[in-house]
């Protein structure tokens, strides 16, 4: 059996909005193993993104535990885990508009303290791996949506993380570009042995994953 990367036990997440409390997650139990691709589907506002943020250490649960590689994430330096082991891809790309494609990818290597030359080399290799080897000097505004998402994927993978978390990575793309991006992610998942968790409301995207989960009203259900 493959190693367990994530083990979530009774994870609850509440947000306070004024006087009311929003229960985003209502006791999620989940195990994700090494090399798995889990797609999480569900309607908007039912906790998909919140779950992903908790998996990535971007947010902390109100109660319950999240173990990453056998250690409670709350006891680890979340910033260090994020910098080394987890790559993120967002729906809105979140590229820095004033930096070129190569510089945007290099940004992910800053916390690792690598030399400038190595950062540049790895960024160029990362962009070449997503088919943008000829767009190194282009600003995000000079790239199409699909190309921007490729840059974001290169940025997520340039540090060679163990886990890739993708939050609606095709949400802002047209159908043709969506298929290209999903094909690219699938290829990278296979070739690099990544553990991938992908959140989407698109059934066509979710259907590509070997494992499928459904978030409904803050609860996780396994789908076969």
């Amino acid at each position: 059996m493959a190693d367990t990367v994530y083990q979530l036990s009774g994870v609850v997440k509440n947000y306070r909005k004024g006087r009311s409390t929003i229960m985003a997650l209502r006791g999620v139990d989940l195990v994700i193993r090494d090399g798995e691709w889990l797609a999480i589907q569900g309607p908007t506002g039912h906790g998909k993104s919140t779950l992903l943020q908790i998996l990535g250490g971007l947010d902390r649960p109100t109660s319950g535990t999240v173990e990453f590689e056998g250690t409670d994430l709350a006891t680890l330096s979340e910033a260090r885990v994020r910098a080394r082991s987890i790559g993120f891809v967002f729906q809105t790309f979140n590229l820095i508009p004033t930096l070129s494609a190569a510089e945007n990818v290099e940004v992910a290597l800053v916390p690792l303290g690598l030399g400038a030359a190595e950062c540049r080399t790895r960024a160029e290799q990362g962009l070449a791996a997503v088919g943008l080897g000829d767009r190194l000097r282009h600003l995000p505004s000079e790239l199409s949506g699909g190309q921007q998402q490729r840059v974001a994927i290169a940025r997520a993978l340039v540090k060679e993380p163990r886990v890739l978390l993708a939050d609606e990575p095709t949400g802002n793309l047209d159908e043709g570009t969506r298929d290209e991006i999903i094909a690219l992610l699938e290829d990278l998942w296979r070739s690099r042995g990544l553990t991938m968790v992908l959140v989407t409301h698109d059934s066509a995207v979710a259907g590509r994953a070997p494992r499928l989960g459904l978030m409904t009203d803050g609860r996780f259900e396994e789908r076969s």
Partner: protein, 171 residues
């Protein structure tokens, strides 16, 4: 990478950058103006009060003798007054070579007399801005310190945001 990002952001936000630069220039100008005004006031005080600088122990006040009393209180100054009236300089007095008698029983030093005589005149003092290297350095340092404090506060607040909340803001 940090400085590349900083420079590109400043170029991208040219209008804001120019506005802040103008604010810094205004700060520099204010420091120079305040320094100039301070120096000017000091100079004008020196000019106006110059004639009083000689006033010291040469101001002597005596009480005129009351009728029938056989003489007023002497205060021990009679000798000095007499000396002054006769054009002699009292031993131990300073700054004054001559004395002016302004009335019976009142003796003032020459400096005080000049000051009183000049009190009715207007003294014009020109305010000049002392743009020296030290003033400019001080002004730039003050402006930079203000900018750093303001920037650090914003950065500190941003750094305390939860990553999820920060991402929600840029989305």
């Amino acid at each position: 990478m940090f400085f590349t990002y900083l420079w590109r952001e400043l170029r991208r936000r040219m209008r804001q950058a120019v506005l802040i630069a103008l604010g810094l220039a205004l700060g520099v100008g204010l420091v120079i103006t305040v320094t100039a005004a301070s120096d000017g006031v000091k100079d004008s005080q020196a000019t106006v009060l110059h004639t009083l600088y000689g006033v010291g122990t040469d101001i002597t006040v005596t009480q005129p003798p009351a009728k029938g009393s056989g003489g007023g209180t002497s205060f021990g100054f009679r000798q000095q007054i007499n000396s002054v009236r006769s054009g002699q300089i009292a031993a131990g007095t300073k700054a004054s070579n001559a004395a002016s008698v302004t009335g019976p029983g009142r003796v003032l030093g020459s400096g005080a007399a000049q000051a009183l005589a000049g009190a009715g005149h207007t003294v014009s003092v020109t305010l000049t801005a002392p743009v020296t290297l030290s003033v400019i350095v001080l002004a730039v340092l003050l402006a930079l310190a203000g900018g750093l404090v303001a920037g650090s506060f914003g950065g500190w607040r941003a750094a305390r945001l939860r990553p999820a909340a920060a991402l929600a803001r840029v989305a």
